[in-house]
Assembly symmetry: C2
Homo-oligomer: 322 residues x 2
């Protein structure tokens, strides 16, 4: 059903520190954006959401609200079961917010929301079988199969970040050790740099000097920028990351066999310095390499706004389907 | 469309050493079964298949023929792209056999065929989202999603056997090292037993004595039988296998999130001695353990005949859909 272009949906990206709300047009454009710190209780969080919707509603007519949530939802997307950085626990967020706002509410997992945004308006338009890997603090993943979000039997598919790839490897906040995202994420860049710095075999590295002066100040973007300047430690860290990303891509291709893999998240800003190496490694690591087509691998296009744009579109579709 | 119960389909299980053909009723029963050595050239293999069909056709009317193939097919299931133990390479097997036999032919990947058999007549009847793990020489896998075989964009999903789980781990015939099936398969039992035997810390183990006398005679069933007799080395090997299987189950649950995981293949004969430990480990290894439902894990029911039964039913359906 065609939508009235004068009507808008609100898309929320609810993170552990801040929540952002965008007023989104039916072509996926962000017309206005607000943000606020994420409150620490469920009641405050829901009234904070209502407050942002009310503020966006003063200038535009709002049809529906979508919320991209970093956590587990039930398969019907009515309840937030568990979100590590948010106060919701088995919380029937959809109905509570719908009653409070008197608007249709659409909840969705954050990686699924971002995938939907890229599918409708970004890097994966027109591709029906593809995977989003959102690589930042950890690894988020989403599968679009036959043009729809694939969620599995319990709404949790697919997760790659906590597959164990190194027995007795780096400890993970999840309680396990050796998880894939400990080697293949923005956070992992820092860990790898510290480990390599401790091995001490890099001469003429200003990155190494920086780490020695203040190891706790190290951030992923310092490393990528050092790699751009051909700092030997920075280059070695990014080389290690590329190989792990190649490994990760092969795990995605073996288990899900998509046509396309889109790299999103914080590290997608720097694909120009690592993606070629990663894909070369990927091509040798899949089962039956040489006897099956290789998935394309490209960077995401909507950046940090993919989630709010995607979930707003899902909210709009839910209204249109009524 | 209801089928005439007096008509039969033939299901083939084409292995590297032998090929078996079953005459299958519409309720999945094997009415007659023949087998022959698998020939070494494509032409001989196809005439061998035609010969078995002709022999089964002397006593019963045959509607269609299904072939379960251990290899990569194209997504339309017309061509065998690559099968490591068979002579077909980019071979248009479906049309060639259909011309030769003047019967409808249905090709399918062997794990998908076995999954379809278990779905229609075995352990997974009535379950719409589930995974078969066929664990024997290696790990075969199939996903039934929304009641249909899930094959991904290129027809190769899902594969778990060659995910790398130990960097610089045991060498794999695939050319990589540390692949999951090197630790979690019937073959892996033998490797683990030899490694543990070399460590030499097992007293009063008759399995250890056997290995020392003739290390090359060791087979998986000798180990499971030793474990049943509480031989300390046999028990330790099965304990190690259980932990790896728990890891494998968590990788399946994280990536595909099925309702049910069915364990088939050679090792499924002995689930009574390892499955409880494996599932206990599995329950602690998934992402968000405790906040999401755990997939059920049960043994397959159709044994080594699941593939021929399944692919015969797929062939029957293909005829009914015409």
């Amino acid at each position: 059903m065609p939508q009235d272009p004068g009507r808008f949906t609100v898309g929320f990206d609810i993170g552990g520190t801040n929540m952002r709300a965008g007023l989104i047009s039916d072509t996926g454009e962000i017309v206005r954006q607000l943000s606020a710190p994420t409150p620490g209780t469920a009641e405050e969080l829901e009234s904070g959401i209502a407050d942002l919707v009310a503020r966006l509603g003063t200038t535009h007519t709002i049809d529906a609200v979508g919320l991209a949530v970093a956590g587990f939802l039930d398969p019907a997307c009515e309840t937030v079961r568990f979100a590590p950085h948010l106060p919701w626990r088995d919380a029937p967020v959809r109905d509570r917010l719908s009653d409070r706002l008197e608007l249709p509410i659409r909840l969705e997992h954050d990686a699924n929301s971002a995938a939907w945004g890229e599918h409708r308006f970004g890097a994966a338009q027109g591709v029906d079988n593809w995977v989003l890997l959102a690589i930042g603090t950890g690894i988020g993943a989403a599968l679009i199969a036959d043009g729809e979000i694939y969620r599995g039997a319990h709404g949790t598919a697919p997760e790659f970040g906590h597959l164990r790839v190194v027995p007795d490897g780096r400890p993970c906040p999840c309680g396990k050790s050796g998880c894939l995202e400990r080697y293949c994420s923005g956070t992992a860049l820092v860990d790898t740099a510290r480990e390599m710095a401790a091995s001490g075999s890099f001469r003429n590295s200003s990155l190494l000097d920086e780490i020695r002066i203040n190891p706790h100040a190290l951030r992923g973007d310092v490393i990528t920028s050092a790699a751009r300047d051909r700092d030997p430690l920075g280059v070695a860290v990014m080389e290690d990351f590329s190989l792990w990303l190649g490994e990760c891509l092969s795990m995605v291709a073996d288990t899900l066999d998509p046509e396309l893999i889109v790299i999103g998240g914080g590290v997608s800003r720097d694909t120009d310095i690592y993606l070629e190496t990663a894909v070369a490694h990927f091509s040798t690591r899949i089962v039956g390499a040489g006897y099956r087509p290789l998935a394309d691998v490209i960077p995401a296009r909507l950046g940090g706004e993919a989630g709010m744009i995607g979930v707003a579109d899902l909210a709009r579709r839910a209204v249109a389907a009524r």
